[in-house]
């Protein structure tokens, strides 16, 4: 457990708290974003190996044994994808927020409880 992953988890929990307690839809979306960010931190932290560099083949690392100097490249690759997906979802959520606001002129989550039981 690195500091980063702990930080990541703290962020996730904060985000979760925001998502579950805030009544405003925008605030919920922000909560979700925070979760996302925390998640990305966690992923990155998993692949981090102390003393190694980013797995980018450039002049700076030329000639070195890439296998031994780079951190694990897979999580980094994953996090890129995850960021993209997170972005897409956040965008979609915002779209929803806008559309919902148009219907009800409200962003309170309690105002959208017609469907139940």
């Amino acid at each position: 457990m690195t500091v980063i992953s702990i930080l990541g988890f703290i962020l996730i929990i904060i985000g979760l708290w925001g998502m579950l307690t805030q009544k405003n839809i925008i605030k919920m979306i922000i909560g979700f974003s925070i979760i996302d960010t925390g998640l990305h931190l966690v992923i990155v932290s998993i692949g981090f190996i102390k003393g190694r560099t980013a797995p980018i083949i450039s002049k700076a690392v030329e000639g070195l044994d890439t296998g031994k100097n780079f951190i694990d490249p897979v999580p980094s690759a994953l996090v890129l994808t995850a960021i993209v997906i997170g972005l897409a979802i956040t965008a979609l959520m915002l779209v929803y927020a806008v559309k919902l606001f148009r219907f009800k002129r409200s962003l309170q989550i309690e105002d959208f409880e017609e469907l139940k039981w």
């Binding site: 307690t21 839809i25 919920m28 966690v42 992923i43 998993i46 959208f112 409880e113």
Partner: protein, 1041 residues
């Protein structure tokens, strides 16, 4: 060989290109859209076919690297099946949605293609992160598709979905990344072998992974969002979510099973079971059709999950085919039926299930609807039936009886709300038409046909089944196709079929079976004549009837318990559908099917137990069971419910009364004997079982005599003639059960003799009532009266039938009574004999009531011109009448065959001397009684005839009326509340306690359902909290340490 990777290439490519093509021409874009779907279908079908031929599974590695360095896809036979189904659904759903797509924009099509691709990916990929990506692709496209339907409800639902989805993906990702950290790979196959499960963290990570996926399967109670989605989105999309998405996720979980520690499986099964039961419970209160489908969907997925998790735990799995039947059957059944129903919901356009009655205006649509409902409940001939059967058998074989009960209970709840819905649909009172388009209708129809086909295929996979049910169904279909023929011709065909069938079947049957064959088939054949009288027979009448009658025959020739149960279910369904045709039968039919199914499930459970003990499904195998008490109780209870034994009789009066008049005779005279036959068969096979030191037959005997008593007593207080006869039927069946329970030669002879005579006189009575009601438009007896002059023929047959029923010598009924008391006394059941005697005297009350209130007394002015019913009502009555007179004159005509049949099982305890039958206690000479009676009848009759010249025939008001003249026939006809004083004395026994009891149970169950669904507050945040709580609780239950 087409590489499966082309599925992704074509669909992604097409998705990108669609926008371009749309710029050129929308039509071309549409064409390409469908072409793409077709290509995907082609590829999956092609692979499916190849794999079936035994080709190797396709393994695809990206960029040519082997895993773990690359993402790999795998396409084996299991994947192929799922791909085929998903893609087929994708195609047909697209056809169905086409109009909607045209309305929105090309974006919908693009999203749709990507969604289908994502689902394909989910099925094929073996890489965790890739799985995550596909998961997100499907989710995002689904969110987007939902938002395209621009209404408030779908948007709210969509937002709730996103919140849940976001949580899921977060958890999934955490799980993935830690598995990677621990296992060093993202590849599923590598992870399984990596030993990550040996660590606590590994299990936690797996837990997160699996349960994140599980939430996508909408387990109870973390599924509020899903219900909202089902309720609000366009039915086409809902079909995709309910069927295709669920299928893909389910498959992913299936893929994960090797990864899971074995402790997960019971929990998964538990979650599945709870979801199944609770969703169905909450579905009970639901009135919105789509949300109802949502509940059903969730329940079905729960069942599937439970079944999967349970099967994986079996120690001794019998064969691969069992798995295929169970999982495949349940899955395909749900997949096709649910998609079809969602589509139907789109076609019908009605939200409230009560408004679905408009569907009755469109018979093909109604047919399809009924098919899907039956399939969903798991009734034959659909795959779900085989699956449930096999599941119950395998569960029992593995000693998981608790699961059998859970599944059966859930199924019963589901059946109740689905049949209630179906009932509303059948009862058409509106003229509103449904607009159907081929594009919408075609997919639905194709799916139903697919279900039917697969159901037929199921026959080959399940052990103990063969295609005995094909003949009835085939004949049914033929009759349905021949619908354009005139009714009488169809009826005659039906009659011919029954006669031919009995000609073939009867000689092949043995002793008692043969006798019941005569009751079932010949009885039905005679009763069929009644239907000729009707002009407005609905389309399905003869098809359903022929299926029912022939299935009765099949019941007799069933060699395996599956055949028996199959025929039993066929009879139940067809009779339910026929009852449902009655004008006000909605509630009665629902109660009927509920009790019938409950009985059937008891039988199923009993057969499961038998399977556990014997390992074979053959009926004869039952005989080898040593400790058969439980089986006897379960099967016996199932049969008794069908008979309507006291305590479970609440369905009977309603069903008999509200069924169409010419179908009620079948119910009473023929169908009620099903249960009797079952009991006799059971007794033949199991003998006299003892459970915990209690002689079960002793209890059965008391049940029988109490039924006889309460049946008679309740009948005496009825005003409705059909209800009266229904209760009378109940009482008579009580005698039969009582005699059966005696379990001696004389007892069984009595029982079968009573069965025969009951067929004869109840046949007459119900046919006569059908005829009567065809002329008199009321069922209230006190509104009739004096009809003897209008319909003398009917009166004579009813009179004879009543005399036979009441057991008055010289007619055949007395033989039954004499045999009954002789056998009871022989057995030493004195108190039962006393109560039976009391019941039989109470029977006089209602016997007289029918004759007097309907045929005698004061004719009503309005009914003065009523004519004798059509000849088709008269003919069957007189055929039965002939039977009664024949066996009254010569009781040995029937007693001798019955005795010799029963002698197979017991040593005979009665013997003959000429016409005298002698038991150990008494004797009876039916022939002499008849002769003496005729003799003593003739003497006074001759004297009266000698005086006939003095007789003046008078009219109805020429009565001594305290020197007044009567005013109106209505006030002079003493018929209403005829036994008021009896009610005062014994009415407290006739209070509807049992009905109240079952009513309260139903009420409680509904209330519990209503209570639990309060969970679904409609708030997206609450749903998210549900998800978290669900996870936490699951985690604690698992107790990962």
């Amino acid at each position: 060989m087409v590489n499966p990777i082309y599925i992704f290439i074509t669909s992604l490519g097409a998705a990108f290109l669609l926008n371009l093509f749309q710029k050129i021409n929308r039509k071309i874009a549409d064409l390409i859209f469908f072409l793409t779907l077709a290509v995907i279908n082609y590829i999956s079908l092609f692979w499916f076919y190849q794999l079936l031929q035994g080709y190797e599974a396709a393994k695809i590695y990206t960029a040519g690297f082997l895993p773990p360095y690359s993402i790999n896809l795998y396409l084996g036979i299991e994947e192929a099946v799922f791909l085929v189904l998903i893609n087929l659904l994708g195609f047909f759903s697209a056809v169905y949605l086409y109009k909607k797509f045209r309305e929105i924009s090309i974006k919908a099509m693009i999203l749709y293609l990507v969604l289908i691709m994502g689902l394909n990916g989910l099925v094929m990929t073996r890489d965790l992160f890739n799985l995550f990506v596909f998961l997100e692709i499907t989710s995002i496209t689904t969110y987007a598709l939902i938002s395209l339907e621009d209404n408030k409800y779908s948007l709210t639902a969509g937002f709730k979905f996103i919140i849940a989805g976001g949580l899921v993906s977060t958890l999934f990702l955490i799980g993935t990344i830690y598995l990677y950290r621990l296992g060093g790979s993202l590849n599923l196959d590598f992870l399984v072998n990596s030993g990550v499960l040996n660590t606590k963290a590994g299990i936690l990570a797996t837990f997160l992974l699996v349960f994140a996926l599980l939430i996508e399967l909408k387990p109870f109670p973390a599924n509020g969002w899903a219900l909202d989605v089902y309720q609000s989105v366009h039915p086409g999309i809902a079909a995709i979510i309910a069927s295709a998405s669920s299928a893909a996720i389910f498959f992913v979980i299936y893929k994960f099973i090797p990864l899971m520690p074995s402790s997960f499986l019971p929990l998964l099964a538990g979650i599945g079971g709870v979801t199944f039961v609770f969703s169905n419970l909450m579905g009970l209160k639901q009135t919105d059709a789509r949300r109802l489908l949502g509940y059903s969907s969730i329940a079905q997925m729960g069942l599937l999950l439970a079944a999967l998790a349970l099967i994986m735990q079996f120690d001794n799995l019998q064969s691969l085919s069992s798995i295929i039947v169970i999982i495949g059957g349940l899955f395909i059944n749900h997949f096709l039926a649910k998609a079809g129903l969602f589509w139907l919901a789109g076609i019908v356009q009605k939200r409230n299930i009560r408004s679905w009655k408009i569907i009755a205006n469109n018979p093909p649509l109604l047919l399809v609807f009924g098919g899907f409902i039956l399939a969903l409940i798991g009734l034959p001939p659909f795959p779900g039936f085989w699956a449930k059967w096999e599941l119950v058998m395998q569960l029992s074989a593995n000693n998981m009886m608790v699961w059998v009960w859970i599944i059966l209970a859930g199924s019963l709840l589901e059946a109740v709300y689905l049949f209630r819905w179906f009932g509303y649909a059948v009862k058409n009172t509106e003229v509103e038409e449904i607009r159907t388009e081929a594009a919408q209708y075609l997919p639905v129809l194709i799916f139903l046909l697919g279900l039917l086909y697969l159901g037929m295929e199921g026959t080959h996979l399940v052990s103990g089944a063969d295609s005995i049910y094909v003949l009835p169904v085939l004949l049914g279909v033929i009759l349905y196709v021949l619908n354009w023929l005139p009714n009488k011709l169809k009826g005659s065909l039906c009659l011919l079929a029954v006669i031919y069938f009995s000609y073939r079947l009867l000689p092949a049957l043995q002793d008692i079976y043969q006798l019941f064959g005569v009751v079932f088939l010949i009885g039905s054949a005679v009763l069929l004549i009644t239907t000729f009288a009707r002009k407005d027979i609905f389309k399905g009448f003869y098809p359903l009837l022929i299926i029912m009658i022939l299935s009765l025959g099949n019941l007799l020739q069933a060699k395996t318990s599956l055949q028996f149960f199959l025929s039993w279910e066929f009879i139940t369904i067809t009779s339910y559908l026929l009852i449902l045709r009655g004008k006000f039968s909605l509630k009665a039919a629902l109660i009927y099917i509920t009790f019938s199914l409950a009985g059937a499930y008891l039988i199923l459970a009993g057969m499961g137990l038998a399977f556990r003990d014997t390992g074979v499904v053959s009926l004869a195998g039952l005989a080898s069971i040593v400790n058969s008490g439980y089986i006897y109780v379960l099967l016996g209870l199932g049969f008794l419910i069908k008979i309507g034994i006291v305590g479970f009789h609440v369905w009977l009066p309603g069903a008999y009364t509200e069924a169409e008049d010419d179908f009620t005779p079948f119910l009473s005279a023929v169908l009620s004997k099903m249960g009797i036959f079952g009991l006799i068969m059971l007794a033949i096979l199991l003998g006299e079982p003892v459970l915990k030191g209690i002689q079960l037959n002793y209890i059965l005997g008391w049940l029988g005599v109490l039924t006889a008593f309460f049946g008679a007593l309740l009948a005496a207080f009825q005003e409705d003639i059909k209800k009266l006869l229904a209760y009378s039927s109940l009482g008579q069946l009580g005698y039969i059960v009582l005699a059966l329970a005696i379990h001696s030669h004389l007892g069984w002879v009595t029982s079968i003799y009573l069965t025969f005579t009951h067929l004869l006189f109840k046949g007459i009575l119900f046919v006569a009532v059908a005829g009567l009601l065809s002329r008199v438009k009321t069922r209230k007896m006190y509104e009739m009266g004096g009809l003897i002059n209008n319909m003398p023929l009917t009166f004579i047959s009813v009179l004879i039938a009543i005399i036979a029923l009441s057991g008055v010598p010289p007619l055949s009924g007395f033989g039954g009574k004499w045999l009954l008391y002789s056998s009871l006394l022989e057995k030493g059941w004195y108190l039962q004999a006393g109560l039976a005697f009391f019941a039989s005297t109470i029977a006089f009350l209602y016997c007289y009531r029918i004759l007097h209130s309907v045929f005698l007394g004061q004719p009503k002015t309005a009914l003065r011109d009523v004519k004798e019913p059509s000849v088709w009502y008269i003919v069957p009555q007189y055929l039965f009448l002939f039977g009664i007179m024949a066996i009254s004159m010569y009781p040995n005509l029937i007693l001798k065959p019955v005795m010799s049949a029963v002698s197979t099982y017991f040593a005979s305890s009665i013997y003959w001397e000429d016409y005298t039958v002698i038991s150990s206690l008494g004797y009876w000479n039916g022939n002499a009684v008849m002769m003496v009676t005729m003799g003593v009848f003739m003497i006074p009759l001759l004297w009266l005839l000698f005086r006939i010249k003095a007789v003046t025939k008078v009219k109805q008001f020429n009565i001594v009326y305290a020197a007044e003249r009567p005013d109106r026939p209505e006030t002079t006809h003493y018929a209403h509340n005829f036994f008021a004083h009896y009610q005062k004395a014994l009415g407290f026994l006739a209070r509807p306690k049992v009905t109240e009891f079952w009513g309260n149970i139903a009420e409680v169950i509904h209330s519990v359902g209503a209570l639990f669904r309060q969970l679904y507050t409609g708030n997206g945040q609450t749903y998210a909290i549900h998800i978290l709580i669900f996870l936490l609780i699951s985690y604690f239950i698992l107790g990962v340490k």
